[in-house]
Symmetry: C2
Subunit: 334 residues, 2 copies
């Protein structure tokens, strides 16, 4: 979806909840780039790589450690813990439905899932590998990976490019459709409770959909300032403006405190909230968003209704077989 | 199996490889204690608890972090990494087939899988929870656990006792039968290579089976001194005697450097070796064991043969569905 069409649908959303066509159900399939079509062999390899802690310097941290596929796709921590107990300043975004983000990371610094997958592996406080050459060397030392890469990409194909392609292909399968909201917008009017429908209407009425638009409620491709309206109390309590967000990447003052609009899919199970994971409950997060983005003071009932609606965005998680990681015979990670 | 019968079969093993009845295939089912019969509901709950990092203080370390069910049941590290990057002095034993150990931990300080499961959770350098009361409080705060415990143990049943029973019930399903060795001793003489058969004969001939007896090659219930024969070179290099082993528990001088005999099942994929994980390759481990336990100098060919045989002990790993951990709505682990 282009920024323009996203904006149009947002305006429609903001206008009236009765424009049913503006509410989109989550597709069952994610878009895939021309240079990395999804294949079962890539997905299988990607699932294995994603769950393999040997992609980290200590052999203890896999992609799944912080983006846990057994949970809501993240770690329920304010910030994640990488190798040797190190922590960073940002909260792990969920991997579920990340295929519907047009850019990745909180600051949107990766243009694709493939680009994103390359980052944490060599980040010194995340997975801590010195270089992708070291990662490739380690993968080559694990016999089983030769065959897995060969099936997915052809002979002698272990490389950074193919590893990240496989991980991205796997991530494109991590979609959670059939939430109560999806069933509701597809026509099952009993799929949401009355309170959830009230919350949905309030969500549109006050303008949440101005940014949280589209099937994944992530205003695909959209960056937004947070907070828009300064608030001394919340700022002091949660230190939202300390991290400059997108400006850390672009070095432009105009990007200060701008962030990729995060998905609201499964938001009820991915506490804590915001880029710094400083807010523990969804009630508080909704209150803050209304006040700091829309300059609105919501009543307790209105907050409860919107939270009820957000709970209707929790989807069905696909059943996965636990991957069997290829063994490391006769050697160790450190 | 009692210590006596274990001893008898060991003596038979040591005598001649032709006594086929002394070679036992791995049972498909583990023995279970009278007070914790295995049920599907317990196994399901146990699998979830086993993989839930919220059983640790930081929310980052689960049982599976160090005893990885996607790998050889451990972490391929000399010692494991617990919360906040802390490490201990011993190497994580494999969880696969641990149901066939009569005692647990390297020093045998836990008499059952249930007892074992309680330990790491509150160990400050492993999972770091302050107390089991805290663990139970956290489990109670996660709504989905109420229903899971109710199905397994009845209403309002979240407790340390039941959590560890569920984990133990799950662990009793982690069995890897049908290794080439198992097929061979069941009559398929093509299941092992000639070299593996030579290695098997050498294994028996030099007396490895004196301790590594029984279906799991763990001399069930048996403690043994390691090293028996001191060796200045190996001791200096690998510091085997620094850790007093069982004497750390019993405080008896006679237990100094005594250890539970570990299983050899899947040993080829659980490097590094020994209680301190100081030896990286199986070749070196076999050389050391022959020299320091049996005072034998093996030739390179003999070592290669025994290593080939040990590779025949890698079994079939049961396919598991990835557990969906109950969500933590509106709250966080720290």
């Amino acid at each position: 979806m282009s920024k323009m069409s996203s904006l149009v649908s947002s305006l429609i959303l903001a206008g009236s909840v009765s424009v049913a066509s503006a509410w989109e159900a989550l597709p069952n399939k994610a878009p895939e780039p021309a240079n990395n079509p999804t294949t079962p062999e890539k997905v299988k390899l990607g699932q294995i790589l994603y769950h393999d802690p040997r992609l980290s310097s200590t052999g203890t941290v896999s992609c799944a450690s912080c983006h846990n596929t057994m949970l809501g796709g993240e770690d329920n921590r304010p910030n994640s813990m990488g190798v040797n107990g190190q922590t960073g300043g940002r909260s792990a975004p969920t991997v579920w439905n990340s295929a519907f983000n047009e850019v990745q990371f909180w600051d949107g610094r990766a243009a694709s899932l493939e680009d994103q997958a390359a980052g944490p592996v060599t980040n010194p406080i995340e997975m801590g590998m010195k270089s992708w050459d070291d990662v490739v060397a380690r993968l080559k030392s694990i016999e089983g990976y030769q065959a897995l890469f060969e099936k997915a990409f052809g002979k002698d194909s272990i490389s950074k490019d193919n590893a990240t392609k496989a991980i991205a292909a796997y991530e494109r399968t991590l979609i959670t459709p059939n939430s109560p909201y999806d069933k509701y917008v597809k026509g099952n009017k009993n799929a949401m409770t009355e309170q959830q429908v009230r919350g949905m209407e309030k969500f549109a009425e006050i303008g949440c959909g101005g940014c949280h638009s589209g099937a994944a409620f992530n205003g695909p491709g959209m960056f937004q300032k947070f907070p828009v309206f300064s608030n001394g109390f919340f700022n002091a309590k949660y230190k939202f403006v300390k991290d400059k967000g997108r400006a850390e990447v672009t070095k432009k003052e105009s990007d200060k405190n701008f962030w990729k609009v995060p998905t609201l899919r499964n938001i009820a199970i991915t506490a804590p909230y915001f880029h710094n994971g400083s807010v523990k409950t969804l009630d508080e997060a909704v209150k803050i968003m209304a006040k700091m983005q829309l300059d609105k003071d919501l009543s307790k009932d209105e907050i409860a209704d919107i939270v009820a609606f957000l709970n209707a965005l929790t989807g069905e998680f696909p059943k996965q077989q636990m991957p069997a990681l290829p063994a490391t015979p006769g050697t160790t990670v450190n």
